[in-house]
Symmetry: C2
Amino acid sequence: MKQVKDTRSRILDTAEELFSEHGLDRVSIRDITRKARVNLAAINYHFGTKEDLVGAVFERRVIPVNQARMAALDGVEKAAGKKSPKLEEILGAFIRPTITYSLDPSQNNKTFSRLFGRCLTEPSPELEALLKKQFEPLVERMDAALMKTLPHLSRSEIFWRMKFTFGALHHWLLTKDKFLPTWLEAIEVEAQTQKLISFAAAGFRVA
Amino acid sequence: MKQVKDTRSRILDTAEELFSEHGLDRVSIRDITRKARVNLAAINYHFGTKEDLVGAVFERRVIPVNQARMAALDGVEKAAGKKSPKLEEILGAFIRPTITYSLDPSQNNKTFSRLFGRCLTEPSPELEALLKKQFEPLVERMDAALMKTLPHLSRSEIFWRMKFTFGALHHWLLTKDKFLPTWLEAIEVEAQTQKLISFAAAGFRVA
DNA sequence: CTTTGGTTCATACAACCGTTTCAAACGAGC
DNA sequence: GCTCGTTTGAAACGGTTGTATGAACCAAAG
């Protein structure tokens, strides 16, 4: 086995970094292998095609984040017992894991938030299928939790409001350190997160 | 002059269509010229580089949309007279023009919404500068109007809520006919727009 | 020691990229 | 009719792309 894992994960790390910085299409396989100091053929050997590599990069992050979301949702529902969980807590279970994972420096995740936001706009059909597979069960659980807490809303209504929340979250992840005016007072990420959660919660509470 | 305009605008139309469908980087100038039935060199002759073409495609749409937003804001403020305009009307002035322009079939705009949503995630520095230039004055006017209507909110607070609104809008534009579950009841675009506006308005009204 | 199965390497491949070139075609003004 | 500036055309440029090939390498198994 030698240091297979070394090569494989060095490719994954470098690819993630470059993809999130420049976009999937502006990064060539040669850019990745050069920066990872790995042979050109290593990518095709370990992952198959470039598209397979893209999938692997996404899966490595999306799966844990969505698992963390599920776990957070579990925790929120268990804590609420028989009562319905608070709206802010449900939304927090959806929003917070992306922050946690995108800022944890121990896992080379500094750049993950941008990658994550990006994955929604890159139009590869295979990537779209992957996303759908990764998000469908989560969205279903979210819907169920929200319907319990907001029983007066129809499932369709919840769907649209989730879409808006999703958009706000991902646009924020993608641009949270871009387009900032000079006069803006800098605030912590946690404070930004709370702003987003209460913004979305208010949107969900509309009659 | 002959049919210069014909060639030029046929390139613009085709480029817009292909860019919005496949993304900026997945479309080559050969794809464009082939589909537009125009000589390969025509793009470089009329626009310079491919990046210049991208800029031209965006500008042709972004400028009118933002002008329409400005005009709508003017109308809302004039109608309110000395009083502050209603929050929903301000947000509508920002949101509605993107709908109007992305659905008007008389201007080949069927695909514009996707292009528009896409332009925020493609990381070209020149495009970013173009966007900043096109949006800064608009955002300033929006901020001013919102501060007048919501005087208890700080400018920074309004900035973040605008970012969330922006994200919800653009994610919606980008995916409004994607990832739709089978059980979802179909509704008109106007109804979706109203949902978005009241969602965002509620977020702005949080104390 | 030799074989084996997995991994790395340099190199080659065909296809495509954005851009340039320059001759041909063109309509307007004299 | 004949220039003249503008627009189109076919072809080529050098460079890069993703992928494939087959030899070299290496740890572990027999």
